[in-house]
Symmetry: C2
């Protein structure tokens, strides 16, 4: 090794040590957040807020550290491909964080905190006018935030990149537009179909029974209990590292299928996290890609496995046994895939209408941030769009534009990644089957090794080595496309509803 | 306010913000540690080690920050009494941390990590010779550590101050010596007594039943579930803040009394933490005093309440009901206070012989650190002392000098605080009864308000405002003394064993 190369290696090591410190503090924050949502007694909130916001401050200080700028400049272009990927990822986060004035960071954080009770009251009273001024402020602050990062670009594009930095906004918009153009016809046809899907569940089921069932589902899928755990949370989520990726779920007495779906969804997220490289823990090479890829993993397991016929041929007997009911695999399959075309609530939506809920939010937040829509018009536009895409109209703001918390948190640009993730799930599942052959037999026999292996090799273990766009092309041999999702949806629902 | 006073107030505020940041990071570490001991799946260890050691580094950096030196110099003597107490506490920690070279911090941490598997193997094989070299290294490193803090003072005194900075070592040693001189006669008399205490428990009890019983015990004592929770851990502990102070316990099938005692012990710790000032959270005024005072609170509830006759008149019916056994309050009382004079294991010891186990450890670690005892002599000296104080001799190293983990962690000077805490518990309970009158009726009726109120007013709510020595004198009107404990022990056991 030349002395120059050696010196560069030393700089890289010092840089990486700092990056690891930054990421370990971030993961410590994740533990505090898990605890707060799952374990913490209610009285703990004031102390936990202080602890968490202090870790955020430390995290931010490490990311904006001047030393990082120097290292990045010194390393850029002088290191190998893997190291260059690390430099790329850290530079992006570092520059973004440094672009935002401290004062704006503070105002954003305060505005979100203040917005929460206002939104809660407006939602409880189903009265958007109570929230209007607050939403205006949040939109303005996020426009200011986008301008601080790049005053010359479309502000919505800039915000979208906080959640999905490596899929360009035109590609994302094209995919969402395709969903908007293609799905309503299918949804309409389903609404007009005479088919009534079966529902094998009757009455109510206690949390203990449901927990034992979803635990069995996790066992079936091969969840590694030595590196994870299952708990309940009001809003299910998963969190952790490749050494400890936990899932949460929730149980509604009359909706065991909801618990199964939600648990398998979170399992998908956790399986991605658990598939990251152990050796690269603490660096971008051992960290997951952004929202779209993460959501592709949760949706792949939730929809392409958990809502598939072979899965129910495998799992129906388990439900029968634990719930003491008799029903065919086909009945469970139908119930898992029932389309609720009169549902107004995103989080209760089925696999198909879900995307119309997303398109409504995407179009409205995009236009708000671009300055093409006035905040006061949101309820009217929302209801019009829901009616146009789903054929039903919300009765009030609570089941309309006030239902989601995202904007209250100042998260504009997040919603699209939900649909993009589902679309990518189909594309990845298609590529896996192209390479491995049909996976029905694997699923029906509870053998997930080949599927998991393919995902691990083509997605998980790369961490952030590739950009999202490159990762998709490497894994599937194609550019990001909605084709697979639309084929899948048309075939599956055409069959189910005799279209 | 003069402009000078105003400026000083501003400096104090900046200083305090830094102190809070330091303490919030420390409390975040506490959450990670609780999670690791109670919730974390085993596979999580590698990631958790990185996260925790990073938080320790950040914590240490905040404590050794040069700004802190400047602020401390600027504030010292110019602030009011409360602020001066904060300055005193922070200065002490800051100077101690700065006295230790980074390299030594690292070597200490590595030596403890390396020592753990060696100690575990030696203990498993009951062979001290396997651990001898490691213990020598740990002793040497701690002597070096003590010399770095103050080369001119007794190194054991310096180490003791890490756990108990505000009780001088002569006072501590005098109290331990008094226990060593007074208790063996009582223990001997008990061994010779014909009295056989009752044992109402027969057979084995499952964890679920025991958990429901200790939950009832916590309810009875008034544990605030909105600011705490109960879980199980291999080594019970309590941790947290005034907003969220959690307890853990463990269940052995044949020892429900052990679970009750351990749970009430941890409740005592938690009750101290929960009694700290909310407004002063994050500063020494809202933080607990050191080990002796903390242990006094756990021992007071464990021994003076949980092992008292009136408590068993209150609680016996609860055990009868939940365990389906019939026994008198007197029988439970006798069982809770049985003296096991042939027990070699500290953590299984009764309230009385416990102190002899501590004295053995204290005398040995003191002599090791002072250079008056060679590591190779430890097993022999240990066994001789146990035989002298307890009248029984360990058969092997595992039930002798290898039983405790403390030295493996490099903790020399910790053991004495266990006994000092029990002694202080008696002194505080005596002072409370002097002021409030006899508390038997309160305890028997499950009314702990007056006792809790007294402890809160005289101990908890002061945080670290007073030094330990001053706190004891303020609360009891006397200097720290073993008199109350010895009176209590002689009276209680004299009565129990017809001496």
């Amino acid at each position: 090794m030349s002395s120059e190369a050696q010196q560069s290696e030393e700089v890289y090591e010092a840089f990486l040590e700092h990056v690891r410190k930054y990421n370990y503090v971030g993961d410590a924050s994740g533990v505090l957040s898990w605890d707060q949502q799952v374990m913490m007694p209610e009285g703990g909130t004031p102390a936990r807020s202080k602890q968490s916001s202090t870790l955020s401050t430390v995290h931010h200080e490490l990311l904006t550290d001047d030393k990082l700028s120097e290292w990045l400049d010194e390393l850029d272009g002088t290191v190998d491909d893997e190291q260059q990927a690390v430099v790329r990822e850290v530079r992006r986060s570092h520059e973004r964080a440094n672009a935002i004035p401290e004062d704006l960071v503070k105002r954003l954080s305060e505005a979100s905190s203040n917005a929460l009770p206002v939104w809660e009251e407006a939602k409880a009273k189903s009265d958007f006018s109570l929230f209007e001024e607050t939403l205006e402020e949040l939109v303005e602050l996020r426009r200011e935030y986008a301008a601080a990062i790049d005053p010359d670009r479309d502000p919505y594009e800039v915000l979208f990149e906080d959640y999905e930095p490596y899929i360009d906004i035109d590609t994302a918009e094209a995919i969402l537009t395709e969903l908007r153009e293609e799905l309503p016809a299918l949804i309409d046809a389903i609404a007009e179909s005479d088919v009534e899907p079966a529902d094998p569940f009757e009455g109510e089921y206690d949390a203990e029974t449901q927990e034992s069932l979803v635990t069995e589902a996790l066992d079936t899928l091969g969840y590694d209990w030595d590196r994870g755990r299952l708990d309940t949370a009001p809003h299910p989520f998963s969190t952790g590292t490749q050494f400890d990726a936990r899932v949460t779920t929730r149980f509604a007495p009359d909706d065991p299928m909801g618990a199964i779906g939600s648990t398998i969804h979170e399992f998908g997220h956790a399986s991605y996290t658990l598939g990251l490289s152990d050796d690269d823990y603490g660096t971008p090479l051992g960290d997951s890609r952004d929202m779209t890829v993460h959501e592709s993993q949760s949706r792949l397991w939730e929809n392409h496995v958990g809502r598939s016929k072979p899965f129910w041929r495998l799992f129906a007997s388990e439900v029968e046994e634990q719930f003491g009911i008799t029903a065919s695999p086909q009945a469970f399959y139908e119930h898992a895939n029932e389309v609720y075309d009169d549902n107004m609530i995103r989080v209760e939506a089925d696999e198909l209408t879900y995307h119309m809920h997303i398109v409504v939010r995407f179009e409205i937040e995009r236009d708000l941030i671009r300055g093409d829509l006035d905040v006061s018009e949101v309820p009217q536009v929302w209801n019009d769009k829901v009616e146009e895409y789903l054929g039903v109209r919300p009765d009030n703001d609570a089941e309309g534009c006030l239902q989601d918390i995202h904007w209250t948190h100042g998260n504009f640009g997040y919603f699209p990644t939900y649909s993009l993730g589902s679309v990518l799930a189909s594309q990845l599942f298609g590529a896996a089957e192209r390479e491995l052959g049909d996976l029905d037999d694997d699923i029906e026999s509870g053998n997930f090794d080949r599927l998991y292996g393919w995902l691990n090799e083509n997605v998980h273990e790369h961490g952030c080595r590739y950009t999202t766009t490159d990762l998709i092309e490497e894994a599937t041999g194609e550019a990001f496309t909605a084709e697979y999702f639309l084929d899948y949806a048309n075939k599956k629902y055409g069959n189910l509803y005799n279209l």
